[in-house]
């Protein structure tokens, strides 16, 4: 029985324990707080800044050091530094307060950045700034969940923010080409999914100008002008049989539209992304 006197007793304070089970045994090491995550991420390179002591324990709080034979049996070596490194890399750890705090903060920022990237102010069609979104998130008391991905949470945030401020996902600009026969029927189905239909061309009109190249050209130029031309371009094979329309949709509906067109037209219609994000560009002076 060892004698516990203040002289031969090493007391550890501020311990963060990292545990690992190996070979049916439990091993623990004593680390400093707020350091293990840094070590794992590679930001901390000095092992002495992470480990309180380079011995491996069975139970840190009781001060029971692991037996040498157990270590060699489980790890295949008795080099304590090597074992400590293994445990640090693979063991389960306590996340300390500051580590958790900085993780949540980073996630919060990340979510706000994603929201700001994906959304626009519906009135001006310009994005909101990240700090504004952060403020809005704080206002609705959004709490970050550490175990959910930031992307998922960002979508959730967008939904919640819609109630308190004018915000909207930046629209995608799509070009749909539908077979003439099914166009009417499909259009009805698509209607609730499309936000804005910018331009539409019916094949009846196209039928009329068939075979006359010059007329086709005038047809393309007159009604839309050059600016919209880049959104409503069709290849000649489509001119006579299909029904192209350019529209703005909420990106959330993309999958749905994709499914719908694919199944309904059996491969004869097509869907094309003209631009992923429809926002105003450039600076504006008042």
């Amino acid at each position: 029985m060892s004698i516990f006197t203040p002289t031969n007793q090493i007391r550890l304070t501020n311990v963060a324990v990292v545990r690992m089970k190996k070979g049916g045994k439990r091993f623990e090491i004593a680390c400093y707080k707020n350091k293990v995550v840094n070590w794992r991420a590679g930001a901390e390179k000095d092992l002495d800044e992470v480990l309180q002591t380079q011995s491996v324990f069975v139970n840190v709080s009781k001060g029971q050091v692991a037996k040498k034979e157990d270590l060699t049996k489980s790890f295949g070596t008795d080099d304590l530094t090597e074992i400590c490194k293994q445990i640090l890399a693979k063991g389960e750890l306590q996340v300390s307060d500051k580590e958790r705090h900085s993780q949540l903060e980073t996630m919060f920022r990340d979510i706000a950045t994603i929201v700001a990237e994906k959304c626009v102010n519906p009135e001006t069609k310009r994005p909101y700034t990240v700090s504004l979104i952060e403020g809005a998130m704080k206002e609705i008391h959004y709490s970050v969940k550490a175990n959910k991905s930031t992307k998922q949470q960002a979508l959730e945030v967008i939904r919640q923010l819609k109630e308190s401020m004018g915000i909207q996902r930046a629209h995608m600009r799509l070009r749909l080409v539908l077979p003439a026969k099914e166009a009417k029927r499909l259009k009805e189905k698509l209607k609730p999914l499309l936000q804005v239909v910018e331009s539409e061309d019916f094949d009846e009109q196209l039928e009329m100008v068939r075979g006359n190249n010059i007329k086709i050209r005038t047809f393309i130029f007159c009604p839309f002008g050059f600016a919209t031309l880049r959104f409503c371009i069709f290849s000649p094979c489509l001119l006579f049989s299909r029904h192209p329309q350019v529209c703005l949709v909420d990106p959330g509906c993309f999958r749905e539209i994709d499914e719908l067109i694919r199944s309904e037209t059996r491969g004869r219609g097509s869907l094309e992304v003209v631009s992923l994000k429809d926002v105003e560009e450039g600076e504006e002076k008042f």
Partner: protein, 1063 residues
């Protein structure tokens, strides 16, 4: 004398000979508003007791609390001198450097200026600025040397010392004027010489050669009568004339002689009763000291220093003035002093007299000034159309007859609370009216509760002056924008058109009607029916047609006046956002109003969605924010440092390390993983998760000239992209020959810049530009055997290639991947710039996994490798492009990793990012060019501030004829926050920077650098934590965006707070 009645002022307005439009200019705190108070007090608008304390023209709350003037405000005063009655339109201006734009607006409307100089501080930076401004606008200045009491009370100078001090100040002021004069003469001379070289035999005008040019009238001198010595706070002031008059009566010396000798090296020989020259040489008191200053000194001595009651009484009786017993008994000697002084030598009398005698009336406007006003930009006056030149005569006549053309210049718009307008002002009401009002008020209150906010509105009043004709209420006039060309206007408009038939055909010309005309009386406005020429006025109802300043006229021949020359350009930028995001629309509306109300503030929305406010300085910023908060937006908002954009790029591998040691042959490590392979030369090969497609990409830096060219020609590239898009669809377009020429020129330029072995034939192989299809990065097609239609096919080269060139399937996915990669780089998700990605290999395996082999239909027919491109042209679907051509091949898309095209986009993006990371990466910072005008004595500090903020001086030169230096430097935008303020503080306002965005520059330090060699360890230490500029920027951006930043949460593990008990 009570305040002048409106009728009186109206009558006076009709006589331009007796109108004086003047402004008060000076350095901050030299007593402009105090002097204005004294002048206002003569009209009985405020009590003369309060003059100097009330600061009547500082009507804003923050002006009163801070004690500085922030805006220029006008007041009309009446002054009668003997049988002549004058109307003075007085404009008080701010002295703080941030508000020098307000000074510009004031100076433009005036014919003369009262420049004030503090007797103790002398000529200060802003004094120089205002003198320059007055000079540039060709208005005549007179001088007031103020705060002479401080020489007596604070500095305790003797009258003799004070005299030499005053002489010195006068010399300083004249030196400034002299410099302005010589620099102008030199400029003119240089211009003339140039002209002579060009023209040779043009008419020569030698009248203003520097040695011959007459400058004696320019200078201030008491014997010229354009200097007044004053103490506005104590209410006294005098000019030499007054004393000459007094001593003429008392001592019988001729007034003319006294006038000549009172200021200068003259003394009174008591025995000979003669005025003699050479006071200094003979050690005698100069006449000015003996006759003028000594009297004042003894008065101060009696009243303030010694408080000798008897002597005071003696002085009072000898001066023949009456002082109230109350003032005599007052415990504060200042009260008595000002009571005595304001009766003995009232400052208002001295100043007003000088103003009326020395400053020109609107009728005496110099022809030169008119020409300068009317010739916009570099245009010469002679080149203006004839009708316009005729208007010059109208200007000079300044007549208010009916048939004269009306010309008005609006120098600024200012916001007035609607309740303060005369039409809304309270009148005494009858009983019924009151009952009615009460009912209305109740109603309104209920409405307001329902609406949730108060509906107090701001209306804008234009601060303007009539130069010719009569402005009538409700009259319709043309509003001439700054770019309006009278020649063009005259030719398009029919003869004799008037503003009432609205025309919109001419650019920069619109019509509006002047709803209301006001007389500006400081914080009050009086409504007027008409305003004749030569007067300053306020115009209501222009807010929709005039933004900040404009020229109004009934004649389309009138040219717009030259723009106001602002001494300070707005450079302090802050981003503004509302505390509550739902209040965004209110903020935007408020900022629009602010933009209109402030001549110098600028408001813009950036591409990031930030609302940025640009102001002239920190004090100006504070005022703008206050205005926005309390007046225009009425919401809570926060102002912060604006977001700084960066760019990411790669550079050539360095030859030497951080301590200038040769690196020699560098061994790059090749990396391998499941799908990724980076070889030692930086070629990255990536396979899609379903193992169907492989791309190999290499990144390399573009020469900076190419990047510059690409940046300049974004518009052209965009057009090219549109043309190509439609060509891919198989249609031919009508492209204007101009565009084609431009594209061809662009291509030639690109070819000439991309020379050398490495860049051979590169231009022909350009696949796309990015990000957003028109950015400064290039995607190259180096895939062996893949001949896609050239980007330049619209130029005709691609037509011959015909069959051989065809787009491969999923071509667009590669481009999309490239676009995504260039839009946000791996360093801190900022766009890339100046990077060239070349795709060296691109294989698509026979698409379908073995178990679906039977489904591999011909319709899908994707060529197994790059050789099968020929088939593309025969199939109708081959030209179909798109990132998700899902409809065409539904079965291929249905694999567990999503559609092939999508996977390819992701793979391409990742490949680009890795290829980028395989090269030495650098951050690019936006740079401002910074022009600094400074005097020689603060040159060192200018360099200090620039150096501290990572600035680099490009060159400096001395301005001819002055002691000013002009320094040109570049400075990272990231370091510019607070720059202007620091600059002014460190140089005591003697240097003012102007910042303009110029270019992107690679920051030379590597953000990922760590010491590797022995020498580097020695030099930088193990941690190498000396400042790494680009790492600092990169981490700041990463932190802002919530990306991972490699830094420790706590630096020293042991130094954390111990949570254990004391064991």
């Amino acid at each position: 004398m009570g305040p002048p009645t409106l009728d009186k002022i109206r009558a006076l307005q009709r006589n331009p000979r007796n109108i004086r439009n003047l402004c008060i200019l000076a350095h901050v705190d030299h007593g402009k508003t105090t002097l204005a108070d004294c002048l206002v007090a003569t009209n009985g608008i405020i009590s003369s007791r309060l003059a100097g304390k009330l600061r009547y023209l500082d009507s804003r709350e923050d002006e009163q609390s801070r004690g500085i003037t922030m805006k220029s405000s006008a007041i009309s005063l009446h002054y009668s001198n003997g049988d002549q009655e004058y109307l003075l339109n007085l404009i008080d201006s701010p002295g703080h450097v941030d508000f020098s734009s307000e000074v510009s607006t004031a100076v433009r409307l005036c014919d003369g200026a009262v420049v004030i100089v503090d007797a103790v501080e002398g000529v200060c930076p802003q004094t120089q600025v205002v003198l320059r401004q007055a000079w540039l606008e060709n208005i005549r200045p007179v001088l007031v040397i103020n705060k002479i009491d401080r020489l007596i009370v604070e500095l305790k100078l003797t009258s003799q010392e004070a005299y030499t001090h005053l002489q010195k100040i006068l010399e300083q002021v004249n030196a400034v004027t002299g410099t302005l004069f010589t620099s102008k003469v030199l400029e003119e001379q240089a211009e003339r010489e140039e002209e002579e070289e060009l023209g040779g035999d043009q008419a020569r005008d030698w009248s203003s050669r520097p040695e011959e040019a007459d400058d004696s009238l320019l200078y201030f001198s008491p014997d010229q009568g354009n200097v007044v010595f004053a103490s506005a706070i104590d209410g006294w002031g005098f000019s030499i004339q007054q004393f000459a008059h007094i001593y003429n009566q008392r001592m019988g010396i001729k007034a003319e002689v006294l006038l000549r000798t009172l200021w200068g090296d003259f003394y009174l020989d008591a025995k000979a009763k003669k005025i003699m020259k050479g006071a200094q040489a003979k050690g005698k008191k100069p006449l000015f000291v003996q006759l003028v200053l000594d009297n004042i000194w003894s008065l101060y001595d009696a009243v303030v220093t010694r408080r000798d009651k008897e002597k005071v009484e003696k002085v009072v009786t000898s001066l023949g003035i009456k002082v109230l017993a109350r003032d005599l008994r007052h415990s504060d000697p200042k009260v008595l002093l000002s009571a005595v002084c304001s009766q003995w030598l009232p400052v208002s009398q001295a100043v007003l007299l000088m103003v009326c005698e020395k400053l020109p009336s609107p009728l005496d406007m110099a022809a030169e000034r008119v020409e300068k006003l009317m010739s916009v930009g570099a245009r010469r006056f002679d080149s203006l159309p004839e009708h316009t030149q005729e208007l010059k005569r109208a200007f000079l006549r300044c007549s208010s007859r009916e048939n004269e053309p009306l010309i008005i210049f609006v120098s600024k718009m200012f916001a007035v609370d609607a309740a303060a307008l005369p039409q809304n002002r309270q009148r005494p009401l009858s009983q019924e009216e009151m009952a009615h009002r009460r009912e209305l008020a109740r109603q309104r209150h209920a409405d307001r509760m329902a609406a949730g906010y108060s509906a107090a509105e701001n209306t804008f009043v234009a601060f303007a002056r009539v130069y010719s004709g009569v402005a009538k209420k409700g009259q319709r006039v043309f509003v001439l924008g700054p770019k309006y060309d009278p020649g063009q206007g005259l030719s398009t408009l029919p003869e004799g058109v008037s503003a009432s038939d609205c025309v919109s055909a001419v650019p920069h010309l619109s019509c509006c009607s002047m709803e209301r005309l006001y007389l500006l009386m400081g914080r009050e406005l009086e409504e007027l029916e008409e305003v004749p020429a030569g007067n300053v006025l306020g115009i209501g109802g222009l807010e929709d047609s005039v933004l900040k300043s404009a020229t109004l006229s009934t004649s389309p021949a009138c040219p717009p006046f030259t723009a106001l020359n602002f001494e300070a350009t707005p450079i302090v930028r802050v981003a503004i956002e509302p505390k509550h995001p739902s209040e965004m629309p209110k903020l935007v509306r408020g900022m629009r109003l602010l933009n209109q109300a402030d001549p110098c503030a600028e408001v813009l929305i950036q591409e990031t969605g930030e609302h940025v406010l640009v102001t002239a300085g920190e004090v100006h910023l504070q005022r703008c924010l206050d205005d926005l908060r309390d007046r225009f937006a009425k919401i809570e908002f926060s102002a912060s440092k604006p977001i700084i954009p960066f760019r990411e790029t790669v550079v050539r591998p360095p030859k030497v390390d951080m301590v200038n040691e040769d690196l020699g042959k560098q061994q790059k490590v090749a990396r391998w993983s499941d799908t990724l392979n980076v070889d030692s030369s930086g070629l990255v090969t990536l396979t899609t998760p379903n193992r169907l497609a492989t791309v190999s990409v290499r990144a390399s830096p573009l020469p900076p000239e190419v990047t510059g060219l690409l940046e300049r020609s974004t518009e052209l590239i965009r057009t090219l992209e549109q043309i190509n898009m439609s060509l891919r669809e198989g249609r031919s377009l009508d492209i204007s020959p101009r565009t084609l020429e431009a594209i061809a020129g662009f291509k030639v330029q690109l070819e000439s810049l991309l020379q050398g072995r490495k860049w051979r034939d590169v231009v022909e192989h350009v696949w796309a530009f990015g990000p957003r299809r028109y950015g400064p990065n290039i995607l190259l097609n180096r895939v062996a055997g893949y001949q896609r239609p050239s980007l330049w096919q619209c130029l005709g080269g691609g037509v011959q290639a015909g069959e051989a060139a065809a787009t491969r399937d999923l071509d667009n996915s590669i481009v999309s991947g490239f676009q995504l990669a260039t839009l946000s780089g791996p360093m801190c998700e900022e766009p890339l710039m100046g990077v060239c990605f070349s795709v060296e290999k691109w294989d698509i395996q026979s698409s379908v996994p073995p178990q679906h082999q039977e489904e591999a239909s011909t319709s899908r027919g994707t060529p197994a490798d790059c050789k099968g491109t020929g088939s593309g042209a025969t199939r109708p679907e081959a030209t179909e492009h798109g990132p998700i051509p899902a409809g065409l091949r539904p079965e291929a898309a249905a694999d567990c990793y999503g559609p092939v095209s999508g996977q390819l986009i992701a793979a391409m993006k990742e490949a680009c990012r890795h290829a980028f990371q395989a090269q030495p990466q650098r951050l690019m910072a936006a740079m401002y060019t910074c022009e600094i005008m400074t005097t020689a004595d603060v040159l060192g500090r200018v360099y200090g501030v620039l150096g501290k903020r990572e600035g680099r001086v490009l060159h400096e030169e001395m301005k001819e004829g002055t002691d000013m230096f002009i320094i040109k430097a570049v400075l990272p935008v990231a370091e510019s926050f607070g720059f202007a303020d620091e600059f002014r503080k460190r140089t005591s306002g003697l240097a003012s920077p102007q910042l303009v965005f110029s270019h992107w520059e690679v920051i030379s330090s590597d953000p990922y650098w760590v010491p590797t060699t022995e020498e580097e360890y020695l030099h930088f230490g193990e941690k190498a934590d000396s400042a790494n500029q680009s790492l600092k920027y990169m981490n700041a951006v990463r932190r802002r965006k919530g990306l991972y930043v490699e830094e420790k949460i706590v630096e020293h593990a042991e130094k954390q707070r111990t949570l254990g008990k004391n064991k």
